[in-house]
Amino acid sequence: MTSPRAVAQIMSIELRNKLSYRADLLIEIGCTLFARAYLSFVVWQAVFQQTGTNTIAGYSQTELLVYFVLAAFIFDLNSINLGFISEDIYRGLLSKYLIMPINYQFYKIISWLGRSLVQFLPLGAALILFLVFGNSQDTSRMTVFSLLVGIFVCLLGNVLNVILYSTVEFLGFWSDKVWSLSIGLHLLVYFAGGIMIPLGALPYSIGEVFRYLPLYLMVGFPTEVILGHVHGLALIRGLLAMLAWFVLLQTLSRAVWRRGLQMYGGVGI
């Protein structure tokens, strides 16, 4: 069992690392995130103008803008690299983690939490501002309850994200370079996770399949929960799907990790 003090220390180190390049961080939050949200939104704005419709996939124009900002934030939280696990394996740097009195995957989750703390602040502030000052028509479905449940789901989604990505990265035990697989997965999350497009805007059958994939549960699902578009039975169904994926991926991840460790020579290239 890792002591809370050790956990706090890891988080603090990661947070300080993240803050050491402040200009980068500002550009990342200010430009990259908002640019990503804007680029997703501007396409749909053009569709709104072209067709004269009031809603697409159940979202008004303003709601869709908030959807994309939120989705971009949550996607960015997921995108924080896991510390290049496969690179650790490739270079033999994994050895130092193996002698630490902490589970490697747990260490990665804690590190992620530390790094992402700084990104939760603008996300929270933006949501509160939207809740307080937003037009009641656009925020009618969003409540304090949906916000709190959504943030909880977001955290669960990120744990799922760490497990999913680390399983892929563990393939580094067998192959020298697997970074392209992680990027491929990242791209799939971008589309099937609902960052470019709300799943409701996809053809029904495809959207329904995507709803049960971890890609959506990591990003699109928390976004829709925060905005109050998912509640009641759909919320429970989503949470159960998350739990099922958690058990499945964790089992797979552990199996891959154990097998991989048997092959690991502790020598880097």
Binding site: E28, V47, V178, G184, L185, Y190, F191, M196, I197
Partner: protein, 264 residues
């Protein structure tokens, strides 16, 4: 003579890349999968958008097909020829490894940016070219051969412009050391180029066509391909490309002067 020497050198780099691809077989297939995921994302996105509208940014479905294929060709060319090389500049500067390249008796820019030829992406480039061919061939109205040649010329210019912009966005690392933020900005602008430029507000559109000319890479060429030839558009594209190229050379020279050779 100098050109021949560089061509010979480049041929050696490609041969070396081929042997590396044979050694790292899993990486070879993973890269192909990665690019396929990207293609699927792009095509799926536009297919989904066109479920809700008939035109987007002035492009009908067949025109959007040509535009998407053009962008995929552009991106796969970038991944094949210079993507990995330019990206490696980040690490070379951070670790102080640029020294090895500065000492070589050839252009540092040439060597650093073009040394990592990707054989896996070459396969994807051929898929992109096939997509472009089928998009043009299935276009409902007959396109004039001169329009196709003009479009392809502009696409070629777009690939050159992409290279210039990639370099221009990575050189700040010589001063800032951590280039993550600026790279994030580059990717955001690159994503902007993935969409038809007519969907952007006027001011942003002008910025994307002049100051950071990402729209001139695929969107504007695709649009001009379907319109009668205009000297003004053609000259604007040539002038912007030339200015960007000269700026890249100047900034690169200054960046090398600022390089401190220290690792971090």
């Amino acid at each position: 003579m100098k050109v021949l020497r560089y061509l010979r050198l480049y041929a050696s780099l490609v041969r070396f890349a081929a042997s590396t691809a044979i050694v790292f077989r899993a990486d070879f297939w993973c890269r192909i999968l990665m690019d396929i995921a990207y293609y699927a994302t792009m095509i799926g996105f536009f297919a989904a958008v066109f479920q809700h509208t008939d035109t987007l940014g002035g492009f009908s479905v067949p025109q959007a097909r040509v535009f998407v294929a053009m962008f995929l060709v552009l991106d796969s060319f970038h991944m094949t020829v210079y993507g990995t090389g330019v990206y490696s500049i980040l690490q070379l500067v951070r670790k102080g490894d640029m020294d090895y390249y500065l000492l070589r008796p050839v252009s540092t820019l040439f060597l650093v940016t073009l040394r990592e030829f990707s054989l896996a992406s070459l396969l994807n480039l051929s898929i992109g070219l096939w997509l472009l061919y089928s998009a043009i061939a299935s276009y409902p109205q007959q396109l004039q051969p001169s329009s196709i040649i003009y479009g392809l010329f502009l696409l070629l210019n777009g690939t050159f412009l992409f290279y210039i912009l990639r370099v221009l966005f990575i050189v700040p690392v010589f001063w800032t050391i951590s280039g993550d933020g600026i790279m994030g900005m580059f990717y955001a602008l690159r994503d902007a180029a993935e969409r038809p430029h007519r969907i952007y507000p006027r001011v942003l559109r002008i910025v994307l066509m002049t100051i950071v000319p990402f729209a001139l890479m695929a969107s504007v060429p695709a649009e001009l391909m379907f319109r009668p030839f205009e000297w003004s558009s053609f000259l604007l594209i040539c002038a912007v490309t030339l200015c960007s190229f000269l700026m890249m050379l100047v900034v690169w020279k200054r960046a090398l002067r600022a390089y401190g050779s220290a690792s971090s």
